[in-house]
């Protein structure tokens, strides 16, 4: 299935603050699988949204044509 993935905050390397990807993933893949494939699974301080809804359950299965947004947690002062 196809999903759109947007990352913000150097999750895919120091030279990529923001990255937009169109990915083909295996049917039944979860958020955790996606994070693992993108090699950002080890980072605890992230926030994941699917179609703009915050996800706490990383075992949720990704549906076709979903938009997944992944952020480094950061605040402003």
């Amino acid at each position: 299935v196809k999903v759109s993935v947007h990352t913000t905050g150097y999750l895919l390397g120091r030279d990529q603050y923001r990255k937009n990807l169109e990915l083909e993933i295996a049917e039944g893949s979860t958020i955790r699988d996606l994070l693992s494939e993108l090699k950002i699974a080890e980072l605890a301080k992230i926030a994941v949204f699917i179609d703009r809804e915050r996800q706490k359950d990383l075992d949720r299965v990704l549906k076709a044509d979903s938009t997944v947004e992944i952020f480094t947690l950061v605040g402003g002062g």
């Binding site: 926030a47 947690l73 950061v74």
Partner: protein, 623 residues
């Protein structure tokens, strides 16, 4: 000189300069070393000085207390800060602000910890502090000049010196006037620039050659090296370095953290696209800028080339200002926000209170409480920045409607009447910073309970509640549900007790996000030589919170003031926090229990006994 207590403490000089502006007489004084141990420095020791020397004075003296912390003047990251404190003209309660830059370290290089200004000069003056001597100099040529011009003139006149100054807003008694140093750093909140202007002091110039000593150099070096590594490994710090404090706006829009259109809209992605860190960086950034010895370097130097909002190279807006003069005014034109920020900086006004007061005025125009004829036929409106830019100058000059808005939103609402108070977004007279309690209820509780009115910086609630940081072993959780109210009382109390001493040190909030729990007492011990551990550190946090609370109770604060403004109790229809409002009563109950406050909002006698060092406050409140 008199009353100097010599001892073995390091970090602090234990020398504070007191200048009576009415007579021009200056003296140095010191404190028992136990005061520095128990109240640490910065606003903590300032509150002690206020309590000890000014609270009972019959002449109404409201001193301006400029005070560094034990780490100021060292090379520890984030330690270039200092505090300025007084009773706030905006709120009527304890007022304080801290800022970074280069003034704080140079103040400590003078061989003093700070300066207490009493009385009022007969004519405009500025102070030139060179090592431990002070000269009171004529400022008639500076009066009326903006903050940037004043800093340029004084840094040219006094080579290698550092300057803090007020702008025209401070001269004209704007209740939320700030104090500027290094052009881009401000003692922003609670109107300390108004107090300074009221004393006829335009600026303080410092030039020193001393060096702050630390008690245990080996331990200090090791802790500094460790922190530098932690900062290097921190993705939030990296984001702040590259995208500035505004790095968080895109995420905030997803979590219900961003206030929009006078706190009335739950989301608007047009706003974060126009005003978020990446866009601002791409369009306007010239270079980043750091406070002394800080590797995070979150400051922005920006420029707008041409057009109606052209801005020469200078300080760009922080996150708070991107909201206050951007999203809050529903303004999608980033160039206009940069211009508004520049005007506020030059006039010397707190952008958080300014933005909230402007949206208050817009609401009043929309609801018929203000009429265009009160402003030369022009109504202030959301999304229309030109009249807003003009109003910023009018406020600084207290001209026309600007005279009313110079009072801040609570003061203006009281004068206007007619129900205007419901549009004023403040706690105890201090307008809310731009993180939204609809999305993050614990921060709402922190606003309710902060000792200077709505504040997001005296504590560590913001990073803890949002999960950016986990401080292990002090009773905090790793994750909190932002929109849940239950359980937030204990969290806020702990995050205050961790953050309040850090604020007194005076350490930058962003650096504190990179520290571990054990780093806080360890660095204090290495610098001062006092035998801090985490329990003593947390107890100092509680003690400092309590002394300020007692001052506020003495000035009339009760449990009725520990609440959120009406707009926070009206749910949004859209966005991540749609339908949610903080449960104010539940959170207040939980917090009172955790903090040991009685039902009337005063610390209970048992709480004051347990805090240690506050026996006289018990007498003050209970007789």
């Amino acid at each position: 000189m008199r009353d100097i207590k010599e001892g073995k403490m390091k970090g602090n000089w234990n020398r504070i300069l007191r200048l009576d502006l009415s007579t021009g007489i200056a003296v140095e004084f010191g404190l028992d070393e136990a005061v520095w141990r128990d109240f640490i420095g910065g606003s903590g020791v300032a509150a002690y000085i206020y309590k000890e020397q000014y609270l009972r004075r019959k002449d109404g003296e409201n001193p301006l207390i400029v005070l560094a912390g034990p780490l100021t003047g060292t090379t520890y990251p984030g330690s270039s800060r200092f505090a300025v404190c007084a009773r706030s003209p905006l709120t009527g309660i304890w007022g304080e602000g801290t800022c970074g830059g280069n003034f704080g370290p140079m103040l400590k290089n003078c061989g003093i910890d700070g300066i207490v200004l009493e009385g009022r000069a007969a004519k405009p003056v500025y102070l030139f502090v060179e090592n431990r001597s002070v000269k009171v100099l004529d400022a008639s040529d500076l009066w009326g000049k903006d903050t940037y011009e004043t800093i340029d003139i004084l840094e040219e006149r006094h080579k290698r010196a550092r300057v803090m100054t007020i702008g025209p807003a401070g001269e004209n008694g704007v209740k939320y006037a700030n104090i500027c140093n290094d052009k881009g750093d401000f003692i922003g909140r609670t109107g300390m620039g108004c107090v300074m202007g009221g004393k006829n002091v335009k600026a303080v110039v410092v030039l020193g050659t001393e060096r702050t000593e630390v008690a245990d150099k080996a331990a200090y070096d090791e802790l500094r090296k460790k922190l530098l590594e932690q900062i290097k490994a921190s993705t939030p710090a990296l984001s702040l370095h590259d995208m500035g404090t505004d790095a968080s706006m895109d995420l905030g829009m997803m979590t219900g953290d961003i206030p929009i259109r006078g706190w009335s809209l739950g989301e608007d992605f047009e706003m974060s696209a126009a005003l978020g860190g990446p866009t601002m960086t791409e369009k306007f950034l010239v270079k980043g800028k750091a406070c002394l010895y800080c590797p995070i370097a979150c400051r922005r130097v920006m420029k707008v080339d041409g057009g109606p909002y052209a801005m020469e190279e200078g300080p760009g807006p922080e996150y708070e200002t991107c909201c206050s003069l951007g999203t809050n005014l529903h303004n999608p034109v980033a160039e206009a926000t940069l211009k508004a920020n520049e005007l506020a900086n030059r006039f010397g006004m707190d952008t958080i209170t300014l933005g909230n007061t402007l949206s208050f005025a817009i609401d009043c125009f929309e609801n018929g409480l203000l009429k265009p004829e009160q402003n030369g036929g022009v109504a202030l409106k959301y999304r229309e920045m030109d009249p807003v830019l003009e109003m910023i100058g009018k406020i600084a000059r207290r001209e026309g409607l600007g005279d009313l808005l110079a009072e801040g939103s609570r003061g203006a609402a009281r004068k206007l009447g007619g129900g205007a108070e419901k549009y004023a977004v403040h706690v105890k007279g201090l307008e809310l910073p731009f993180h939204d309690p609809h999305g993050w209820t614990g921060l709402g509780l922190a606003y309710m309970m902060s000792t200077r009115g709505a504040c997001h910086l005296q504590h560590l609630v913001h990073p803890v509640e949002q999960g950016m940081v986990y401080y292990e072993g002090v009773g905090l959780q790793e994750n909190y549900e932002g929109q849940q109210s239950a359980g937030k009382g204990a969290m806020v109390k702990i995050a205050e007790d961790l953050g309040v001493p850090s604020n007194a040190m005076v350490i930058c909030q962003f650096v504190a996000w990179c520290m571990t729990v054990q780093d806080f007492p360890a660095i204090l011990k290495a610098v001062t030589g006092f035998d801090y551990d985490i329990q003593k550190y947390l107890k100092a946090g509680a003690r400092i919170w309590l002394i300020k609370r007692c001052l506020n109770n003495f000035w009339g604060v009760t449990e009725k003031d520990d609440t959120l403004p009406p707009k926070m109790l009206a749910p949004y229809k859209e966005g991540a926090a749609a339908g949610n409002v903080p449960d104010v009563d539940l959170m207040r109950r939980e917090y009172y229990e955790a903090r040991g406050l009685a039902a009337d909002g005063k610390p209970s006698p048992a709480t004051l006994d347990a805090a240690g060092g506050l026996e006289d406050m018990k007498k003050l409140l209970y007789g």
